[in-house]
């Protein structure tokens, strides 16, 4: 599948993937994330079940403490 991840085109071998699979595949290890798939916020308890398909727009942001 081909998706847009953080404003950049990205290709994966599978036809669809869960958010958890994408995080592993991209080696995103930060613990505090904001994730959006096609304008829908995906919360932590949905990472296993939220499915990303060909053509989806995905934003994965990590946040760190300080201010």
């Amino acid at each position: 599948m081909n998706i847009i991840l953080n404003n950049n085109p990205e290709s994966f071998d599978k036809d669809e993937m869960s958010i958890s699979e994408i995080l592993v595949s991209k080696n995103y290890v930060f613990k505090m994330l904001v994730i959006k798939v096609n304008d829908k916020i995906i919360r932590k308890n949905e990472y296993e079940t939220a499915i990303v398909k060909d053509g989806d727009h995905v934003v994965i942001l990590h946040l760190v403490s300080g201010g």
Partner: protein, 189 residues
Amino acid sequence: MLEQIKNKIVGIAGCGGLGSNCAIALARIGVGKLIIADFDIVSKSNLNRQYFFINQIGMPKVDALLNNISNVSAEVVVEKHFIKLNQFNIPDIFKNCDIIVEAFDLSVMKQMIIETVMSVMPDKYIVSGSGMAGWGNNNSLKTINYDKLYICGDFISEISETLPPLAPRVGVVANMQANQVLEILMNLK
């Protein structure tokens, strides 16, 4: 020159290192109204980066910041909320804002307000800060944008025992946020 920002409203969520410095910058340039919210009290350890003074130690940060804003601008209207922000009170407190500035310290709070604004208040712009601990590395600080969300910082430098938040870098990011707010406001109808 900045006539069009006189009727604009900006929310400041948190009045620590990011919020106090960002609010002062927005007051100086003449944003019409600031809605400031924080539950904390000024302490001595805040003075290494936050826009407060020794004689304000012990005051609620919203009261101290209101005083300091009124000392740099007689025009700006300030609405203050001495409250801990959460997903339930944010939509009401900031409902009239054109833009909300995320100015928390903890990443879990940053996540909470970004998710709340993007899901419950999708028409609002939010300007956040992430990654500004320590010193140096000027050129690692940048702004990324997704739809109505902007995040300023280096996205890596998290506060720790050995990497404290300090005036120069926190101040740079706070003013990057203010600069982004101004850019958005200047492009609004």
